[in-house]
Amino acid sequence: MEEVAAHFMARYNYWIYVILMMIGFYAMIGKNNLVKKLLGMNIFQTAIILFFVSTGAKKGGSIPILDKYAALQGHVDVNQVVNPLPHVLMLTAIVVGVSVTGVALAVLIRIYRKYGTLEEDEILHKIENE
């Protein structure tokens, strides 16, 4: 029992982000309104970004901005500096997420112009009865 508790306390950040991912996933597939589905996708993406950034943390580490003259002369201790690679990759992921949200909202404006509603079942009903 103590082993299970120690195992959980060492990894509880992954559990929090998995729960956030599942909240976004349920919003994407379980709601009827199209705007709510889009916001669910945004929540899912935010959870994935936070998950990746948290894999690079180190105990007692500081941010990856070093003092230039100290780094040029001396040796840099890798265990004191947080891993910079997930930060770099997630900058790209954030920008891609913003672009996808922008284009999806533009498509939603066109759907509203054509069908007059944003509920999924009413749109399907109107498509089948044309």
Binding site: K68, P86, V96
Partner: protein
């Protein structure tokens, strides 16, 4: 429809939580993401580029190809929104 969605969400969540048992502990300095190429980036970035911010050095120099395509992605998103929403004016 909604109970089915809830069931699918719970099954996926349980599988993911079972999969996190293999990960390294939070804050471990010897975990696999912290040990392969990022050791070389942290130790050599300031000597090779004279830029103290390691994130900007990796983003602009070692991984510059990814940054170029990210700019292309945001440019084409702007063009796509223009193409979807603007209507042709009556001449």
């Amino acid at each position: 429809m909604k109970p089915l969605a809830l069931l699918a969400t719970l099954i996926t969540g349980a599988l993911l939580l079972y999969g996190t048992a293999d990960f390294a502990a939070w804050g471990d300095p010897q975990s696999p993401p912290n040990s392969n190429i990022s050791v070389r980036f942290v130790e050599e970035a300031v000597k090779e580029t004279h830029v103290p911010n390691i994130v900007t050095a990796v983003l602009g120099d070692y991984r510059g190809y990814d940054t170029m395509f990210e700019l292309v992605v945001i440019y084409s998103a702007g063009m796509a929104v223009m193409g979807i929403l603007r209507r042709r004016e009556e001449l």
